[in-house]
Assembly symmetry: C2
Homo-oligomer: 205 residues x 2
């Protein structure tokens, strides 16, 4: 590994690619069999490498679990920030965040259940790191809701509770979302966004 | 046990009480340590009985898991039906169902995670039975939404997707609800119901 700071690689290095493959394979196994029921041996087989090679990349199973968690939340934070830079529209930012989450059900299926159901199995320090990032992400959505309220675009008295409701609508899709369903993630987000912003009761205006 | 059919007991029998205690103890252990990590021995200790006594009530751990699932969904179905008999108001029925679910986070904390995260560990036939009840419950909420649409009280184009969004808002609370929180389950349901029915955008009317 001789990457100079002056010329960072624009594509992942071979080692990074291998790590990504390991994490993707492990996430699928954790999702299907549960974290506790998956061994490093099984991960090595799924990632098509010898066990010592696997240990070269990850010293323990919980290091992979952490990587699954971090990848998941980092994607959401990055996309939320990117949208904040590109756009100021409230609906766009809200529906955009909902689309991001629902899209992960499609692109990171293995990660999703692990992130939602196995965070308690992370070592304490790593649990703390992931919780800080979850809180940061939550605070970003709360901030969008508060901004909307301040500008008179939204009426709400409990921004955090409202954010938890919005996350719930989307996160819960990990229990029912199917790639074979009639609607794509962005279409589901559009409809959920409309429920949250417009409500189901007819509007007089 | 000499209960005659003519005079059914109005309170649970001693045996029923013991079964309830076992299920409550087991649900707490499954919630805290995971279903796979909990043994019949641990359940017997938590329920303060000898292991043979436990086996007198439940022949296997998955029989307890099934009982946890059935109790959880039966409560929701019973309450939904009871409200349908008492009231015809749409908001009342919708917010009532949301209150039912959120209240279980408080009263049946141990059951909740088990119901949401361990259903795949039920034996196939029991998984089918529980899934049928879940589908029945879902269909009841979809029916309320469709009725509301037919009467012009609601505007929506995807009743099932909308129901899944509403369930998501409430079910997801198992990840964040705390008894020490500022709002009681009925208050949270009232606010979530308002988001869903009224929307967050200001209304002209």
């Amino acid at each position: 590994m001789t990457t100079t700071p002056e010329s960072p690689p624009s594509t992942p290095s071979g080692a990074d690619q291998r790590r990504n493959e390991i994490v993707a394979s492990a996430a699928r196994l954790f999702d299907e069999f549960g974290y506790g029921n998956t061994s490093m041996q099984q991960i090595a087989i799924a990632a098509q490498m010898a066990k010592p090679t696997l240990y070269h990349y990850f010293s323990a199973k919980d290091a992979i679990l952490f990587q699954v968690h971090e990848e998941f939340i980092d994607i959401l934070i990055r996309q939320f920030r990117g949208r904040a830079l590109r756009s100021t529209g409230l609906r766009d930012r809200l529906v955009g965040a909902m689309t991001d989450i629902l899209t992960l059900m499609d692109t990171h299926r293995g990660h999703v259940r692990v992130f939602f159901e196995h965070h308690r199995e992370l070592p304490a320090e790593q649990q703390r790191l992931i919780r800080a990032k979850r809180d940061e992400y939550e605070a970003m959505l709360v901030g969008v809701l508060e901004d909307g309220r301040a500008r008179g675009e939204l009426i709400l008295d409990q921004p955090r509770l409202t954010a938890l409701g919005i996350f719930g609508m989307c996160n819960w899709a990990y229990q029912w979302y199917s790639r074979d369903g009639a609607l794509a993630p962005a279409e589901i987000a559009e409809r959920f966004g409309s429920v949250v912003l417009d409500g189901l009761s007819p509007r007089g205006d």
